[in-house]
Amino acid sequence: MTQAQASPIDLTLGDLARLEEVVDREALSDVCRSFFELFGLSIRVLSKDGALLADVHQEREICQYVNGLSGGATACARTVAEVKTAKPDGGPVLVGCFTGGRYRVEPIRYQGRQVGRFVIGPYLPAETRAVPRSLLEIDPGVVDDDALKALAEMPRVRPETAERLATHFRKVVDLLLFSSHRAHLTSEMHVASVREGYRELAEKTAKLQQAYNRLKELDKLKSNFLATVSHELRTPLTSIIGYSEMLEAGIAGDLGGEQREFVETIRRKGDHLLALITSLLDLSKLEQGALRLEREPLVPKDLLDEIATTFLPRAIQKTILIEVEAAENLPAIDGDPVRLRQVLSNLVDNAMKFTPDGGTILLRAVETDLVGGEDGEMGMVLMAAARPAICVEVKDSGAGMKAEELPRIFDAFYQVDGSSTREHGGAGLGLSIVKRLVEAHEGEVRVSSEVGVGTTFSVTLPAVESDL
């Protein structure tokens, strides 16, 4: 685990690797100082590998005294070395000094491991009365009275007191270690959790991206397939229609009553199939962005009248009333006449399918604005430039649709109710073509519907701007 290697704490076990990386030296020194002030004993804290982490001591008079003697300094260095190398693995170690002083070396254990040690001293055992022989022998210059006077200044500690003092200090250090360790673990856990959370998210994002790319690829394949198939289907179909027209026209000889009727059916169904294939081809062209618009000013009323006229025979047959409502003086639409006729035809065709006999279809054009930008977008009041536009509505008095169905009706091949396809025909392409054509005009198409009342499609298209 790389993060564990880089940090002083192993997260798997929650172990701390080195005392000095966790514990705050300032705090440790403060604790030592307060110990010194309270008990008058020098104290040092060392890490496991011997680094001095805190040191509060006072040079004793006796130390100054012996250091002034030739043999004293060497003997003192020997004692210091002994204290430094003492290994209190099994428990406290007492190191005696030739002056009669004593050092107590105590292990610092944490969570079952020795992580360092502390040294209390030097102090004199409480029972010391005379200058010890070891001090007198260190140098011929040692004067008994002077040594005794210097020793008198050393703190005297009884063994059981030394034990209690060590226990007290051990407990304080343990608490300090525990708090520091916990603080460290907490921050390490924070970082590790965030990292783990991020890793998880990144993994999921990558998977989603993969799935998305694959879907995009599939979508492209589908479009290509549609284009190819439509084209390949259209070629033989054109011949079929052409030959049936020739048969109908009697070029290959006169036809009898039933023969004529059959040929007519072949031709009519052929036309129907051709229209379907053409719309498939349109869709794939639109999806590939290969559609080119031939724009010109179109008078809304003329456009609507023309559409109404086209559908009149079917409307009469179904006793549906088609009404047109458009003022003469509306601004012209800036659009491709062929494509817009296709848009409106698809919408009216759709309305005819779902309007029951005796119903009404209303075609209405009104002046409006096209506002760019998304609703609620930041700075929209500044960014959205309004453009004069014409809104064309196709309103039927059919069965209507439920609100949850509305968002999907512009998807290619989507049918609100699969069964209506069989009843009404169509491949579910009409509305998706409408949407794409309107968007190619930088327009918008919206739908509103109420079950049992009817459906209204509103197509907003940019108008020709007179002052430009």
Binding site: T12, L13, T186
Partner: protein, 228 residues
């Protein structure tokens, strides 16, 4: 990323074993640790460390370190962890589970918590796998906690099921300390048997057979209990 479970230090003659208490939110994982902390001989236990709690709910983990000297001069360190039970802390749960040598699954006995137990158990298996461990190979014991509450799964029900269960099943009231030591020692048994089988520790450390488990009981002060 294959975590290194169980740490062995031959020069220091030190063995570190990680045990994890897993389970759904509020099933009593921390309470188990608290109970052990209270019952263990004081010189064998470190402070119970609780990392980041909010409203008494564990956010990261609790850690109870136990340590003692086993036979043949072996220094043993046991690290008992709990995971945060709340669903949202999954990343933390996975981190804590890393390198577990044994797992106690603490289930809530209340009938209403049956689904939560199941979800947490599946989550544990998933997280073990994510950590590169085979769930079937991890020493596991199951504890049905909160036996003192009303509307719990009955003893008969649990007993009948545990007959068929490959893992030892324990019943507990962790708030009173009942069944906590038994669960812990049960896991210790399984974990040791597993480690022994995998690493031949008794031979490596020159331990008498089954001495280790006796030591665990004795040194921690659990001389009674621990029978299934």
């Amino acid at each position: 990323m294959i975590p290194a479970p169980m740490q062995l230090d031959f020069t220091a003659r030190e063995l570190t074993v990680k045990l994890v208490y897993y389970g759904p939110a509020l099933s009593g994982k921390t309470t188990n640790l608290q109970a052990i902390h209270k019952m263990v001989q004081s010189d064998a236990s470190g402070r119970l460390m609780t990392l980041e709690t909010r409203d008494d709910r564990t956010l990261f983990f609790d850690l109870l370190p136990l340590s003692f000297q086993a036979g043949a001069g072996l220094s043993v360190r046991l690290k008992l962890f709990t995971v945060p039970g709340q669903v949202i802390h999954d990343a933390t749960r996975r981190l804590v589970l890393q390198g577990a040598d044994g797992v106690v699954f603490v289930a809530d006995s209340q009938r209403a918590e049956t689904r939560a137990n199941q979800r947490a158990f599946l989550n544990m298996k998933e997280n073990l796998r994510e950590n590169g461990m085979q769930p079937e190979r991890v020493p596991l014991v199951i504890q049905f906690n909160k036996r003192d509450l009303p509307d719990i799964r009955t003893d008969e029900e649990i007993d009948a099921l545990s007959q068929k269960s490959p893992e030892p099943v324990y019943k507990a009231v962790a708030t009173r300390g009942t069944g906590v030591v038994e669960t812990f020692l049960g896991l210790m048994d399984r974990t040791w048997l597993h480690l022994e089988k995998e690493h031949g520790l008794e031979q490596k450390f020159d331990l008498e057979p089954s001495r280790f488990l006796k030591d665990v009981r004795q040194r921690l002060g659990f001389t009674r209990g621990g029978e299934r």
